[in-house]
Symmetry: C2
Subunit: 459 residues, 2 copies
Amino acid sequence: MRLDLDLPAGLDLIVDPDVLAGLSHDDAEWAPYGTALAAVRPTNTAEVRRVVAACAARRIPIVPRGAGTGLSGGANAVDGAMILDLSRMNRIVEIDAENMTATVQPGVVNDDLKAAVAAHGLWYPPDPASAPWSTIGGNVSTNAGGLCCLKYGVTRDYVLGLEAVVGGPAGEYGTAVRLGRRTTKGVSGYDLAGLFTGSEGTFGVITEVTLRLRPARREAPRTVVGAFGSVVAAGEAVAAITRAGLLPAALELLDRTCLRAVEDWKHLGLADDAAALLLAQLDTPGLAGDEEATAVADVFRTAGALWSEQSTDEVEAEALFAARRLAYPALERLGPVLTEDVCVPRSRVPEMLSSIERIADRNGITIATIAHAGDGNLHPLILAPAGDDSARQAAQAAFEEILTAAIAMGGTVTGEHGVGLLKRAGMRQELSAGVLAMQVAVKQTLDPLNLFNPGKVVG
Amino acid sequence: MRLDLDLPAGLDLIVDPDVLAGLSHDDAEWAPYGTALAAVRPTNTAEVRRVVAACAARRIPIVPRGAGTGLSGGANAVDGAMILDLSRMNRIVEIDAENMTATVQPGVVNDDLKAAVAAHGLWYPPDPASAPWSTIGGNVSTNAGGLCCLKYGVTRDYVLGLEAVVGGPAGEYGTAVRLGRRTTKGVSGYDLAGLFTGSEGTFGVITEVTLRLRPARREAPRTVVGAFGSVVAAGEAVAAITRAGLLPAALELLDRTCLRAVEDWKHLGLADDAAALLLAQLDTPGLAGDEEATAVADVFRTAGALWSEQSTDEVEAEALFAARRLAYPALERLGPVLTEDVCVPRSRVPEMLSSIERIADRNGITIATIAHAGDGNLHPLILAPAGDDSARQAAQAAFEEILTAAIAMGGTVTGEHGVGLLKRAGMRQELSAGVLAMQVAVKQTLDPLNLFNPGKVVG
C-alpha cells in the first residue's frame, strides 16, 4: 500500500494497526491520541524531505517522534497523521574533539552519545532521567533538562546548530535548512536554532544537531546524602544551599514513596526510614570539592537533617542516583502515574512542597515527589490505581491544582517536559494573551499549512 | 516643540541637532546614519509604551539605544526616526540572592550590575570589553559575549526573562509583554525571550530583564602568560589548549600592535617584545586550579612559546587583562578603527590568523588583532589614517575579505557584536536564502509596520 504518496523507493510504509498504535503516543498518562494514517522510519535527511513534501502535497499532518519517552503527549498522533519515526536516524555523524562538538542524527540515544564522546575525553552534560532511552532529537525538541542543570544548564545551552526540514518562508515543504552555527559564539541573524529548540516538532523536522561538549570531568563527583523528617524540611535545606553560595552539580530530592517503590523493585539496600532524602553531587575537583561536600553536609545538618553524610563509597553513591533515575519506572509499575513538571523559584520549593501535600490530601490521593530540587523543578508523581475512574479524575484535578499553585509562586507549568498536550491549558493560564498571540503568530509564520505536529504547544 | 505627538507630560523631546547627532550612532566606524526627528529619554515602561504608541500612530520609526558602544551600527538612526535613549532607565529593580537572579532596567551598566550583585556574594559573568560603559539592554540586544564565554557562556545564557514593549500580534504598538520566566528551567511555549536576545531592538523595546547569576568566585583566578614569535604560533597554542582538555575561564590573544598602543597610552610596563601574547585565566579553585595553570604554561611551552609563566603577582595579572580591555580604545586614539568580529571553530584559529595577515599585506594596511582566542572569536582591528580615502577603501575591502575567509572556514561573520548595518552583507553571504527568508518572515510577523529599528539585521 502506497497511499498514493510519492515516497522514496526503499522506505516502507507502516500501516499495521498494532505497530501504528504503539507509535502513536508517548509515555504521558491519559494524554489523548488519534489514529494515524501510517508511519515511516527514514534513515536520512533526503528521505525526510521526500516524506514531508509528499505529505504536504496531500495536506497530511506530520508527527515526528524519537523514542517516545516524552511525558506531555508531544509525540502523540492526530487522526490521519503520518508518523515520522526518527529512531533509525541514529548515526553519530562527527565527533570533533578539537572543537569540542558533536554532530548527530536526531535518533541518537542520549547515553549513546555520552559514551561515544567520553571515548574522546569529552562530556555531553544534559542528563534527563530518560537518558538511557531518549533521543537527542526528542531532547532538543523538548529542551530537555535533567539532573545537572543547576550548574551545567539544559539542552538549549548545548545546541549550536541544527538541520531541519521545513516549509513556509524557506520554500516548499520539504526544504532543508541549516540554522545556527558550529562556532562557540555567533549572532548572525535571529536565533532560529534556539527557537526550534523546545518547539516540539511544530516548526519542522530536526534531521541533524550540532552540540557543544565539555571536557570530561577529571574525577568522580562527591555525593552527600541528607535524610529529613519531612519533604518540607528537605525543601528548606535546598533553599539554605543556595543561600550558602554553594553550586552542586546536582541536588535531588526523593520522598519515601519513591524510595520504597525503587527498593521493592530493585532491592538496592537503600535507607528508607526518612520522609525525604536529598542527594547532592559536587564536582569541583580536588580539595576544594571535598570542602564543598563538607559544607553541603553541614548545611543539611543545620537545616535539621536527621542525619547527613558524605558518601565515600562510590558504589553506594551510584546506587542512590540510580534510585533517583529509577523512581519513575518503579512507580509506573504500580499503576498509572501522572507526571508533573512544575518549576518554581528555588526559595519557594518548601512552600511548593507543602502545597503539593495539601493538594494530595484534599483530593484523597497519593503524590510521590521526586525533584531536581536545586533547580526548583519538581516532579510530583500523581498515582492512581488502574481502572479506578474516580481516582483518575481526582488525579487530573490535582494535576491542574499543582499547575495553578506553581504559577501563583512565580513558577512555570513545565520546567523540562514540554507543553505537548497535557500542559496546554496550564500554559494558557501562565502566559498572557499577548504572549500567546505572539506564539501563535510565529507558528503560523513558520508552518503556514499547520502540518508539523499540529495541536501541540499552541494548538 | 511636541511634533504633535501624544507624549507623557514630563518627557522632554530632544531636538537640538548637536545632541541628536551624538545620539544618532554607535561606535561603528563608517557605518551610515540618518537624521533623526527627535530623541526621548524615558525612565519607565509606561513612558516607553506611550512613546511607542505615539510613534506608531504617526508611523515614525523607533531606534532604541543604550550607551552607544555598539560596533556594528545597530543603534544608528534612520532618517525621521525617534531615538529612544534608554540610558536613564538604569535602575536595578531587584537582586534576589535566594534565587540568584537580578531584575534590571535596560540602561543599567554591566559593571554596575556586577558590583551590585557582588555585594550579595553573586556574580554576573558576561564581560564584554565595554562592560564599564555598555548597558544590559544593549548587551541583551546584541547577545554580547566577552572574555569568559568559553567556560561561562554569553549573555543569552543568563537571560531568563524580559519585558518588552511590542506591537503586532500581541496587540497595539505600545503593548508591554513579559517573555520567558524567573525560574532556572522553563519550556512553557516557544522561547521568545531567547528570540529577542540578539535581535538588536528589531522586535520591540526591552524595558526590563531578569538575569541568572552565579555564586561569586571564591578566589582570584590564576593568570598564565605566554609570549609567541608570531600570532600564528599563538593560534597553534590555542588549539593545543583545547586538545589538552583544558577549559580556561578566559584565553585571550593580543598582538604586538595592540600591546604597543596600550603601552604608549597607559604606560603599564608591559612586555612588548613578542609578536603575540596569550593570556589565560584559570578559575578552578584550590590546588586543582594551580595544576591547571601549570598545565596551560606547559602547553604554551610545548607549542613553542618564547617564554611562558604563571603570574603570581595579582597586580601584574590585572594589568595584563587591563591591556586587553584597553586595546580597542588605545588603537582608536590613533585613528579610525574598523572592528571585525569573526568567529571560527577553535581549530581553525591559526589558519584564520594567517589569512588575516595575508589580507593585510594584500591590501597594504595594518591590522592589529585582539581575540577571544579560546572561543575562536577574533577581533582584527583594521586601522586607517584619518582622512585618507584610499586607506579607508582598502580597510573596507579587507573587512569584507575577512568575512569571506571566516565563512569559508565554517565560521560566522559576527561572534558577539551583532549584524547591525556593517554585517548585513556578510550575513547574506553566510546564511542560505531559505534561512534569510525565515528571518525576514519572523521580523514581519512580530513587527508588521517595520517600526522597530528598521533596516537592522534583516533590513
